[in-house]
Symmetry: C2
Subunit: 127 residues, 2 copies
């Protein structure tokens, strides 16, 4: 049983909420390399969403190389290959840039921004 809650009325699409939640579970170490993910059908039933929505989330995770989908069998969490570091690094930087810019505009100091980042990292690593 996967402890995940979806907000159907969120502005964030369900399949993206799901990818975020699963990545967070990986960050927290609750999903580890090699762990199997639920089948799209059972997971969809648990979450009360459509099979295709879960499938879309899985393919998003596969695109980002966080899981491996074995055709007609299932999906498992996959370790990140080090040689793709550059690929991932660029995505992270691109995603971070507009948020940091916004933080600067609202008047946050470098120290404050780093503190927020540290706080988030601590929360994810802790426990």
């Amino acid at each position: 049983m996967m402890l995940i809650r979806i907000e159907p009325d969120s502005e964030i699409p369900i399949y993206l909420q799901l990818t975020h939640e699963l990545i967070e579970l990986m960050a927290r170490g609750k999903l580890k390399d090699g762990d199997p993910l639920p089948s799209v059908r059972s997971f969809a039933a648990d979450l009360g969403v459509n099979m295709h929505t879960v499938n879309k989330a899985y393919h998003e995770l596969e695109r980002k190389q966080f899981i491996q989908i074995i055709p007609k069998s299932g999906a498992i969490v996959s370790s990140i290959s080090n040689d793709m570091a550059q690929f991932h690094h660029e995505r992270i930087t691109t995603a971070l840039q507009p948020v940091i810019a916004e933080a600067l505009v609202i008047g946050m100091s470098d120290r404050e921004i780093k503190a927020v980042v540290s706080s988030i990292m601590k929360d994810l690593r802790g426990e």
Copy 2:
């Protein structure tokens, strides 16, 4: 003349690209408190997009309190009121969280993540 380039074929909606670009200009100090923004018509003409798309970007910026729209007159960059710090702070944290989680999963160390954040801040503040 505002030095902004839009990618019409990006996965990111044009109106969001515009908001990001404008916020970045504010972060870089090229748009300062009280500076007027181009009219939605002239800006749209310059960018080669529709008037309504620029208007949507402006209202997105107003919602985030980065500009002030004076009805039937124009829009100006507005300083951030300190008493809204909590409001902004939460948005920043919420936006940052999934990206940090992703960074951790791809194996970035705390030091590396902070380095990327510092690099972005330096780029925005520098020059």
